[in-house]
């Protein structure tokens, strides 16, 4: 069936060519990280003659050019991301359910508000938001950072849940109600499991955003021991201004968990994306 013929080979070559813009930077990062200090003058395009993990080690141990060790930043990132995703799922799923099932004008308006928030850039509101967070005493705290992230990503999460739930037949919920389930139980036992694909999408999109975000973390927890990985990586830039091998090594470490997670959950995540598209 899938004989590897001339046409297949042609297409494969096409894919590789299309992938070059993606793969080249990755290649440069790898060669830079693996090159020892004695070979620093070589072209970045040349494969390192004597590969070494020294840069990785130094980035992990010596890091903390800013206020916090690199391993602490990793912990911060994990905690922040997990908390934000959990809050989003716990709040946005019921919110989307209510918006999808209530036909009132008010819920239409609320949904419109979320959709509007979706297209507003964070930079527009960052100054008043920062002022408010200072007044509330939440700047520089992990709780404050989590709150900002959750608020920032809530429109997307609510939007995704509402859209999916609008396409979900009400018969399942009605069957559960007739079976004797109370409203909370209908949601927890029937609706929430049925929107699992969206939960996967929400977790992926918002989790990646929080994990990779630099701006919000810098503004709200910069120069504290709550900084997340992107900010910690940035702190190397100041201290090792010329030490690209260390910066790249730190970036590699930061990307590691995401790559591993995606490797495991790839199938589920892709299923979530496609089933959302189909409603």
């Amino acid at each position: 069936m899938n004989r590897y013929g001339r046409w297949t080979a042609f297409r494969e070559a096409g894919f590789w060519i299309a992938a070059i813009p993606m793969l080249l930077p990755v290649y440069l990062v790898l060669t830079t990280v693996l090159r020892g200090p004695e070979a620093r003058g070589e072209s970045a395009l040349r494969p390192p003659g004597d590969p070494t993990l020294g840069n990785m080690e130094r980035a992990w141990t010596e890091a903390g050019g800013g206020t916090v060790s690199f391993s602490q930043a990793l912990v911060n990132s994990v905690l922040t991301t997990a908390a934000v995703v959990a809050i989003l799922v716990v709040v946005a799923a019921p919110a989307g359910y209510a918006l999808a099932r209530r036909g009132s004008k008010l819920s239409g308006a609320v949904f419109g508000m979320f959709a509007f928030a979706l297209i507003m850039p964070i930079q527009l509101g960052i100054i008043p938001l920062y002022g408010f967070m200072v007044d509330a005493g939440l700047t520089g705290t992990r709780a404050g950072l989590i709150l900002v992230y959750a608020g920032l990503q809530m429109p997307l999460a609510v939007f995704l849940y509402t859209g999916f739930l609008r396409g979900l037949p009400t018969a399942y919920e009605e069957a559960a109600r007739v079976d004797g389930a109370r409203p909370l139980r209908v949601f927890a036992g029937v609706v929430f499991p049925l929107v699992r694909p969206v939960t996967g999408v929400v977790a992926t999109l918002t989790g990646l955003f929080v994990w990779n975000d630099f701006f919000v973390a810098l503004v709200f927890v910069g120069d504290t021991d709550k900084v997340t990985l992107p900010v910690a990586v940035y702190s190397f830039v100041g201290r090792f201004a010329a030490e690209w091998p260390l910066i790249f090594a730190a970036a590699l470490i930061a990307a590691g968990p995401v790559v591993v997670l995606f490797g495991f959950a790839q199938r589920t995540i892709m299923k979530g994306f496609t089933s959302t598209l189909h409603g």
């Binding site: 037949p169 018969a171 559960a176 109600r177 007739v178 004797g180 389930a181 139980r185 036992g189 499991p193």
Partner: protein, 388 residues
């Protein structure tokens, strides 16, 4: 065992025409009651009102004499089988069967035993661990039934449960449903648009049109003495023939046929007045099978459909356009899926005769109808008129 009552129930969705319009009904304990009507007649809404999924705009719903109008589905304790089954896709078959028991706090051990019992009853024993996505339509249908049965509810509400099955499976499931009802004896309200299901399943049936009750009676009564022209046209397949006739001293002038009728079978209108006459296709017989006092009709066969044991002969009779309009209005033809074909200036009537009568299109055929088989309806409104 539960009796169900509806008193003057009205259901109106935001100022539109009432989906259910002043319906009063008594459903007895253990009865198999069918709600039948064309799509959009309000039968599913009525069922949802019984389940508690909707609150009526006015009127009361009673169960065993007590008012349940304001009760949630949970407190009404009825089970519903949905048209598309609504089997929870994230649970196994066993999980689906036991869900109602679980949420109602039935002890685990007892719930497991009941699930097993129901699974055996319906032949689902080997499928308990399977996911619904791996089941066939017929199996899903059984799971939906099983979920209702396992609960041991006060009543079953079924919303077109067989309409997603193929024709053969539907016939066998119909028989199974009937057996099941006889065995369990639980009050069942069954919604269908299929008059065959209404005829075969119910001990009684209610015919609905545009949210209004047309007639509540045993299936045979609906067939033999329809309360109006709509019920007459809806019940029976192929549908009843209609023609506008003129009464005479000694009988009827029916679309050019001269029918002489004994006094007790004459229409209850004065000579010269118009009356809507209905004749079931199976009552248009070969003369030798129709009896002595039958009225003869000589017709020309236009179309012949062979059904195996029987054949349908369609023959044209003259009809003025205004007559067609009167008939369509009196039988609410726009509410029914397929009215009889109406050509310009003529109307095709249908006779159902045994297949051994050899007829070809174009042949002249002699038919006969018993005077007692004529149904009379008022041309204006379609109400049944008793024979004089």
């Amino acid at each position: 065992m539960t009796s169900i009552g509806l008193d003057h129930v009205v259901m109106r969705y935001d100022g539109t025409q009432a989906a259910v319009d002043d319906v009063s009904l008594e459903i007895e304990e253990g009865e198999f009651f069918v709600l039948v009507g064309p799509s959009g007649c309000g039968k599913s809404t009525l069922l949802r009102l019984l389940a508690g999924l909707e609150r009526p705009s006015s009127g009361t719903v009673r169960m065993d004499g007590s008012d349940v109008t304001e009760l949630t589905p949970r407190l009404r304790d009825v089970a519903m089988v949905f048209q598309n089954y609504a089997i929870y896709p994230h649970m196994t078959v066993g999980g689906n069967l036991g869900y109602g028991l679980k949420v109602r706090g039935v002890p685990k051990r007892e719930a497991a035993a009941r699930v097993r019992e129901v699974a055996d009853l319906l032949g689902l024993g080997d499928l308990l661990k399977r996911r619904p996505t791996t089941l066939s339509g017929g199996q899903l249908q059984r799971v939906a039934m099983g979920r209702a049965i396992a609960r041991r509810p006060r009543a079953y509400l079924m919303d077109e449960p067989l309409s997603n099955l193929d024709a053969k499976l539907r016939v066998s499931m119909r028989a199974e449903l009937e057996q099941l009802h006889r065995r369990l004896g639980v009050t069942t309200v069954y919604v269908t648009h299929d008059q065959v299901e209404a005829m075969t399943l119910g001990s009684r049936a209610a015919v609905l049109r545009a949210g209004e009750l047309q007639q509540v009676a045993a299936p045979q009564e609906l067939y033999a003495r329809p309360a109006n022209a709509f019920v007459a046209a809806f019940i029976g397949s192929p549908p009843m023939n209609f023609a506008l006739a003129t009464a005479r001293e000694d009988g009827l002038d029916l679309a050019g046929f001269d029918l002489r009728l004994p006094a007790e079978h004459r229409p209850p209108v004065a000579a010269g007045e118009r009356v809507l006459v209905g004749i079931r296709p199976e009552e248009l017989r070969a003369p030798q099978a129709a009896g002595k006092d039958a009225c003869a009709l000589r017709v020309t066969c236009a179309v012949r459909q062979n059904l195996g044991a029987d054949q349908l002969l369609f023959f044209p009779v003259p009809q003025l356009p205004y007559e067609a309009a009167v008939i369509a209005r009196a039988t609410f033809a726009e509410d029914r899926p397929a009215g009889p074909a109406v050509g310009s200036g003529e109307r095709l009537l249908c006779a159902r005769v045994p297949a051994d009568v050899s007829v070809e299109p174009g042949d002249t055929v002699d038919l006969a109808v018993r005077p007692g088989a004529l149904h009379y309806f008022a041309p204006d409104g379609g109400a049944r008129l008793p024979s004089a």
